[in-house]
Point group: C2
Chain length 255, copies 2
DNA sequence: CGACTAGTTGAGGCCAGTCAATGTTGGTGG
DNA sequence: CCACCAACATTGACTGGCCTCAACTAGTCG
């Protein structure tokens, strides 16, 4: 609620150096992520106008940064390929993962309010982003009501997502948090047409721990225990969910 | 990240019963909270149009509910008088406070994405809310760019606020969390023209604990300790901050 | 191959939770 | 106005879940 967001304007250098800008047009019209992304439900005419707006893509290698705290906010980014994490930093340098993002996710939304980013986005693997210049997006939203509404929905869902995470961090035990994490990943992979029971984690134990407010050793121990109990099969970053309903029960959720 | 937001539509009864609807026009034009609230920076003409939209207010007594999880989403609410908390519920009934809100705050934003509320808003004292019908607000936003932008900023700031809270919940120790809580309240009281060093808490120890992911006994002990250390003076819900900079240092510090 | 990063596992400690007893406050009705 | 009660708050003693520290293994890459 406090610290990182109200910082004075950019002290940090802009991060354009590490990214490759592609002047290719990235047609929403033909994008496979269209129905998961901001253009969801738009008609052909609206899609064409949105295409006009998305003139650049950014490509990041694993570990590279899309934006940092303090960078001027100018655009939202739609994740087109690969995956990334967003992290927030405390004043003393402590860092916490605030989200893991995959295809169709829109990131950077925390920058609108302050005019500069309060968080950081780092690629977990080689990845690609459509740049949505925010001024133009607002302009276009004023003429295309469904686009405007989609934007509002994306902003709102980010809030809901954060609420769930806050609930996990504030009132769940370690094993419940990890179960929630796995079930959530599972659902999102399914939505994107991937296997919901077998996937490869893109992040380290430490990053998972950071996201869940746990230490890496705790995460590791829990993976081992879940495996022992027959809930999952885990081998490094490869995970197979053997008993999804048991995992869901762990969080108090009825399937 | 998971549980409460993706529920099926309303099972819960609508909450209109407990609230008093006032058909009074609540003029943004003359509202003292104007510069903290959604109309911030709007010109006279825009203000007048916004006035047209805000046709009703809701008045709640302490403990009454503005909306519940599952209630159909139709409007945002601008807090005009008093204060309230918003809470999120896990499936097993566990409840966690997600935010404390005061004059000028806009609440209900988590409902846009799903079409129904995922959280609950409960009055901490007798309070009053301007009802902002969301469809109409979107419409108006399409003709008044600054209003549209303000809405986006409010949505975005809610995200930033959540990020800070996540950071607290995930990586701070109990004393740091409470210090952060007090400093944050202090800042918000100042912004609203109240004393930033002397105020009365509107919530119980248990509610503070719920917000910070702590138990009420822990909160109580910390208040006592802070007092012993000369950081604050506390008497029930009355708090005086004696050493704000020491409190701020507590959040920056890694022990 | 060595250096490095990531992951696993064990031992022990500490912070915050739990349980319990007691004190305080504020609202209500006699 | 005061007595009463219930809700809220404080404090102590003890427990336990997660953290810390540490040793070791597995996999990767120059």
């Amino acid at each position: 609620m406090i610290i990182p967001s109200r910082k004075p304007p950019p002290a940090t250098p802009q991060t354009a150096a590490v990214v490759s800008i592609l002047a290719l047009k990235s047609h929403c019209t033909s994008c496979t992520m269209r129905e998961l992304c901001l253009p969801v439900g738009l008609d052909r005419d609206a899609l064409r106008q949105l295409d006009e707006l998305v003139t650049t893509r950014v490509r990041l290698k694993k570990g590279e940064t899309l934006y940092r705290p303090g960078d001027a906010f100018s655009a939202l980014y739609a994740l087109r390929l690969g995956s990334c994490k967003t992290t927030v930093l405390a004043e003393d340098g402590r860092e916490q993962v605030a989200g893991y993002h995959m295809l169709g996710d829109v990131i950077g939304m925390d920058g609108i309010g302050a005019g500069y980013h309060g968080s950081q986005a780092v690629a977990l693997e080689d990845s690609e982003y459509c740049v949505l210049p925010f001024d133009e997006l607002e302009n276009l939203g004023r003429s295309i009501a469904p686009l405007q509404h989609n934007l509002h929905q994306f902003l709102s869902r980010e809030i809901s997502r954060n609420h769930s995470l806050m609930l996990q961090l504030g009132s769940m035990r370690a094993e419940e948090r990890l179960a929630a994490f796995l079930v959530n990943l599972s659902q999102r992979y399914r939505e994107r047409g991937y296997s919901s029971i077998e996937f490869v984690l893109r992040m380290t134990r430490e990053e998972i721990g950071s996201y869940l407010g746990l230490k890496l050793e705790t995460v590791s121990r829990l993976f081992s225990r879940f495996q022992q109990e027959g809930l999952i099969q885990v081998q490094g970053r490869s995970v197979i969910l053997l008993d999804v309903s048991a995992l869901k029960q762990l969080l108090g959720q009825r399937c």
